[in-house]
């Protein structure tokens, strides 16, 4: 009922991002046009919308992979523009669509990446990597010494989760993490995701174009279109009180 007293984990205030005009668009293209949102600690928010709607761009402003042209982005209350991007990124987990594993590194080395960047000693990082592999359901004895190319897509994605979690960051950004998987594997990973959610209580932002996935995994869903955030609400509120015709149509698609 009361407005949350705690500082939001992630916050965007009137954030815009305009790319310099490509040929034919003298004004430039607005990837984000005045987006504001606030995500509480421990919350999972899904961002949905058609490709090009700005959901990935918005996600990438949180770890400064994209710097907005206007507006303020805050992580744990601090404006990211005033934060060293390298340090910031090491405190935020990241899971891209295809895992983004470094192909020339063994699985354990991939998982150790951030701890090692943070200066952990090797043994501690290695122990941690094995814990993380266990956590995502990959037996370290079997997988730790393998190379990414020797794993299936689903297994690689699990490794990407393990890597994102390894340094125990409070926030994790996920960019279509299940996008490239077949339906069965996806379902399996959804379950894993939910388990992790329950045990770890991370703040997570999940970009997806799969509405069912968003409904299943997120506490709140943000619907985006052409760089604007049309509505940000829990799934049932989205169904019962769609903010406009676009949101309603989108939701109908989900059942169609």
């Amino acid at each position: 009922m009361l407005a949350p007293v705690a500082t939001p984990a992630l916050e965007a205030v009137d954030v815009s991002k305009t790319y310099p005009g490509a040929s034919g668009t003298p004004e430039g293209t607005a990837a984000l046009a005045g987006v504001s949102l606030s995500i509480a600690s421990g919350e999972t928010v899904a961002l949905v919308g058609e490709s090009g709607c700005g959901k990935t761009t918005l996600l990438r402003t949180f770890n400064r992979l994209v710097d907005p042209t206007a507006g303020v982005v805050r992580v744990e209350g601090k404006p990211v523009a005033e934060t060293d991007p390298i340090g910031l990124r090491r405190r935020i987990g990241y899971v891209p669509q295809d895992g983004g594993l470094l192909p020339h590194w063994r699985i354990e080395r991939n998982v150790e990446l951030v701890p090692r960047l943070l200066g952990w000693d090797r043994d501690r990082a290695r122990t941690r990597a094995r814990e993380m592999l266990n956590l995502v359901g990959l037996a370290p004895d079997i997988y730790a010494r393998r190379y990414p190319a020797e794993l299936s897509g689903g297994q690689r994605q699990r490794v990407a989760f393990a890597r994102a979690l390894a340094a125990d960051p409070p926030i994790i950004l996920l960019d279509e993490p299940f996008g490239a998987l077949d339906a069965l594997t996806r379902l399996e990973l959804h379950r894993q995701f939910q388990t992790l959610q329950e045990t770890l209580h991370k703040t997570m932002v999940l970009v997806t174009h799969d509405l069912n996935e968003a409904f299943r995994l997120a506490g709140r869903i943000g619907v985006m279109k052409k760089g604007r955030l049309l509505q940000l609400a829990p799934p049932d509120e989205l169904t019962t009180q769609p903010a406009d015709g676009y949101v309603r149509e989108l939701l109908e698609l989900r059942h169609g």
């Binding site: 390298i86 910031l88 090491r90 990241y94 295809d98 983004g100 020339h104 960047l117 990407a160």
Partner: protein, 570 residues
């Protein structure tokens, strides 16, 4: 000035010096022709190979050894003298004669840099001190080097070049060797006898009925056919433009009636041609003499004295006969030079023949007998290639990385390097000469320039295109740009960069055969000499090892490419 050359079958060097009159172009154009021929083996060399490693280490070792032993300063040790020559038989023979004479009559250690690519190269080498002496012709000195009209008589020409070379460059023309090697007009002997032709004026009387066949350059130059026609009122029924080798053949077969030739070319004998007297002195005199650095003469006065023994030692007939042995019999200049010196009574009696003749033996036997020379050439070859490649890697990899960082303008820089690649090798070598002289340094620089493009190109695109999703994830997880470069992009690009280095290595090893044109040694040496002597075995003794070397280098680097490919990549 009547040329003392009796109208009679004349012989001359395959690649006559007068041809170089106007400028170095003649020499280079001609050499470029040779380049085409020389280059043709490269595609084969460039093919894939099957070799193993170790090559790199040995090459590096060879390089160090090479640099230690033979960098130009070494050639200037106080008691050494370097004899040069141009790249045709007569010039090589004279160079060899100078060298043998100096060896037998002085205490000096004599180094040979025979077969340099033409007048300009020799001249620059002499000026820079890379060589101490080489045989030159007065007409070439007058026209090509001084850029003066060739209107002087024999003695005046010699006096003119003597005073000017001394004044401008402290270079000394020693006493003339006694013969000229000039432009001439030659006709089949039978035609000359039937029509009673002794002079070019005689030829002019009947030229309306005759077919001329002239070299491309001779036809194009004002001091060639056009001037000749004006001076003598020549008007041939037809004029064909022919390659030199074909001219002789054509004249021998009576398909042409008159051609340009050189006084001492042995092929005049072989094809039964006679020279017509230049009774209006249209062609400048080309008297042969040793051209020596003044500093060398000051340091070693005995050089002037000993080479002075050759004053007037030859005439056109004797020179033609010597050229005949080189051109037609394929004898080596070492043997012919020794015989010539013996005949002149200038060498100590019973010197044994310096080189056994292998013409009867098989190729393998020939290779075996030449093994020491070939080993030395191979080391030189690898040294040149390795030095160029090493410098190429040291420059091109950082440059590729820098361009990848900057992006802006990267493509244009790479395009310029690509253009450089299209400059004919010999032209590039030629450009080096005014700046770096002759020898190893310019050869390495030229080879280095060729090595840049493939390495820069592959470094740039390899790093740029390194798995973008891995790079994105590495960025998103907080790796610094430096860490991303060294831990992600470079390892991922390594196979592509190595492929570029491999390409560069094969190009370098292939092109290094041309380094011999500017006196840098290597396996090109026997190829070039063999081409001039029309000695197939000698050509192959350079070409085959060069091809094998290219294959081995390619194979070794292919192996390295595999070995260094980061685990986990395909």
């Amino acid at each position: 000035m009547g040329r003392p050359s009796p109208p009679g079958p004349l012989s001359r060097p395959t690649r006559p010096p007068p041809r170089e009159r106007g400028n170095a172009c003649g020499a280079f154009c001609q050499s470029l022709g040779m380049v085409v021929r020389l280059r043709s083996p490269s595609p084969g060399e460039v093919g894939r190979g099957g070799g193993r490693g170790g090559q790199g280490v040995r090459a590096l070792f060879g390089l160090l050894l090479f640099l230690l032993l033979s960098f130009p300063p070494a050639a200037h040790a106080a008691d050494r003298i370097v004899v040069g020559s141009k790249n045709f038989e007569e010039s090589r023979l004279l160079g060899e004669i100078f060298a043998q004479l100096l060896e037998s009559r002085t205490e000096l250690q004599v180094e040979r840099r025979l077969g340099l690519a033409g007048t300009q190269v020799c001249f620059e080498a002499l000026k820079s001190g890379a060589i101490d002496v080489y045989p030159e012709y007065t007409g070439t000195g007058l026209v090509s080097l001084l850029g003066e009209p060739a209107e002087l008589g024999r003695t005046e020409a010699m006096n003119r070049v003597r005073s000017e070379f001394l004044r401008r460059w402290n270079l000394w023309w020693l006493s003339p060797l006694g013969f000229e090697n000039s432009f001439e007009i030659a006709v089949p002997k039978e035609l000359a006898e039937r029509e009673r032709l002794a002079t070019i004026s005689d030829l002019a009387r009947i030229s309306g009925r005759l077919r001329g066949g002239f070299g491309h350059e001779f036809v194009g130059r004002e001091d060639g056919l056009p001037g000749l026609e004006k001076t003598y009122g020549l008007k041939f029924a037809s004029v064909e433009h022919l390659q030199q080798a074909i001219q002789y053949q054509a004249a021998g077969d009576r398909r042409i009636d008159a051609m340009d030739a050189y006084t001492t070319d042995a092929r005049l004998l072989r094809y039964n041609l006679v020279i017509l007297r230049d009774d209006k002195n249209f062609f400048p005199p080309y008297e042969a003499a040793a051209l020596v650095r003044g500093e060398t003469l000051a340091r070693h006065p005995e050089v002037g004295a000993v080479l002075g023994l050759l004053a007037g030692a030859f005439d056109e007939d004797s020179m033609r006969a010597l050229n005949f042995r080189l051109q037609e019999k394929g004898e080596s200049e070492a043997v012919v030079a020794l015989d010539a010196l013996r005949a002149l009574g200038l060498t100590g009696g019973g010197a044994e023949s310096p080189e056994p003749e292998h013409r009867g033996a098989g190729f393998a036997a020939y290779l075996w007998s030449e093994r020491q020379t070939l080993a030395k050439r191979t080391v030189e070859h690898l040294g040149l290639s390795a030095a160029a490649l090493l410098l190429g890697v040291l420059v091109a990899v950082p440059l590729g990385l820098y361009l990848e960082r900057k992006r802006r303008g990267a493509e244009s820089v790479i395009r310029v390097l690509g253009l450089l690649q299209t400059v004919p090798s010999l032209a590039l070598l030629a450009f080096m000469i005014p700046v770096l002289g002759v020898g190893i340094a310019p050869a390495i620089v030229a080879l280095w320039l060729y090595s840049l493009y493939p390495i820069v190109r592959n470094t740039y695109s390899g790093v740029r295109d390194a798995d973008p999703r891995a790079v994105d994830a590495a960025t998103a997880l907080g790796m610094t740009p430096g860490q991303i470069l060294t831990q992600v992009r470079l390892p991922l690009a390594a196979p592509i960069i190595l492929a570029g280095i491999r390409t560069a290595a094969v190009i370098t090893v292939g092109t290094a055969t041309l380094a011999a044109f500017i006196g840098a040694g290597g396996l090109g040496e026997p190829i070039i000499t063999g081409l001039q002597l029309a000695n197939a075995r000698m050509i192959l003794s350079g070409a085959v090892p060069a091809a094998v070397l290219a294959l081995l280098v390619d194979g070794a680097l292919g192996w390295a490419e595999k070995a260094l490919r980061p685990a986990g990549l395909g």
